[in-house]
Amino acid sequence: MENLIDIKGVTHAYKTKAGPFPVLRDLNIAIPQHSFCAVVGPSGCGKSTLTRLIAGLMFPDQGEVWLHGELVKSPRKTVGMAFQNPVLLEWRTILQNVILPLEIVAPSMPKAQKEARAKELLALVGLEGFENKRPSELSGGMRQRASLCRALVHKPDIIILDEPFGALDAFTREDLWQTMHQLRAKEPFTALLITHDLRESVYLGDQVVVLSGRPATTQYVMQVDVPGPRPLEMLYEPETVERLAVLRREIQIAQGRAVA
């Protein structure tokens, strides 16, 4: 099976006044098509940097990022992004916010068609009836749902999620985890999810990648071979509890609080 995303030996440093600041070192990640990859790692280790490299917003000092068998040299229309901050545009309604990527990617698509597509997604995440509200009229969880719809509206090959659930409360977060599974079942996509929450990584990911502390390199990769829409109960199964214990230990190693 061909990998949709292939990160090969990527090394990157930020140029600062005090000299180069290494952030990623010889990083390797491979994500097959329609698979979901969760990435965990200590704060500030370079996770967001990784997402910017994949999105083609920056280019690595060494190594290569391949998408769909092509070397990434510029931003690509086939990427969707969502962040911890939902960054919805307050002057647009929810519907108009979701349509935004279509305005860039498919400017010639008829407006009705754009709206139909957006409404379909909004309905899927339970935002039916909120199309004409302003972002500030929605709760944090609802805003994040809208932000997910925006990341998906142009049917991207890859969606990149940088801690999209980080600021939500525990109940809302679990709700959205389930929504993610529903979305995948409906429209398969390839995803890279950055998270701080181990339970989230195990519940959503087909593989969980643990990054080491800065400069980040691939420290540990765990496969989670549980098929299709997973029930929330999975989180309380002994197998999961064990997986979490393993990941917890790896993270402590990454944070330098335990030795391998």
């Binding site: 917003l57 931003p75 901050n85 545009l89 307050e90 002057w91 935004l100 990527p101 302003r134 142009h154």
Partner: protein
Amino acid sequence: MIDWKKILIPVSAIVILLLLWELLVWVMGWPDYKMASPSDLWPAFLRYQELFWLYGWQTLWRTVVGLGVAVVFGTLLGMIMGLSKVMNDALYPLLVGFNAIPKATVVPVIALMFVGQHDFNTILMAFMISFFPIAVSVAIGLSTLEPEYRDILRSLGASRMTVFWKIALPKTLPEFFGALKVAVTLAFIGTNLVEIITPHGRGLGHLFQSAQTNSDFPLMFAVLLALAALGIVLYYAVVALEYIFAGWAVRTAH
């Protein structure tokens, strides 16, 4: 659904102020040439009513045109400064210095440069005095745009221009209107400054000058009040515009 309190409170505040003023003049027994009282102003206003409307209109349109130019120029300048750190460092002190020059001293210089172009001079002054806050606010708005907003569109291959139109510009609208509220008052002051310092027989500033020439003190004070009223109207016109074009920001703040 009009909120009557919102109107009643300021109106009664104005009425109370006028009453206190009347009372003060009455108690102190001040003559007109020291301090006219509100009751003297009304006759003065009635007598020159037509002039008030005519001159008020002249002052108004010059202010608005000057402000319009300031908006265009200030936005462009703000874009340059907001998008380039070097230009910002280079231009900011110049703008501060330019802004600090009392415009009363610039009026004669302008009058000399563009002799006889009264409308042009007035508009130029309204423009010069008011573009600064607009430029600064647009620059700040653009330079503080969170990178995520940009990334959302850039990751789709959108051009810088698209990012600017779709995100940066609308996002700075609240700051822009905040500055516009300051700028409109400044432009108004600029217009009047020209009308008073290089009198060319038009505008409320001229009416003030004439009143002074004729020692008509109630008229002088009436013009002052008319200026204050026109200033309030201009200010709240901008507030209304803000509500229309950046209403989302106003409503969110509640």
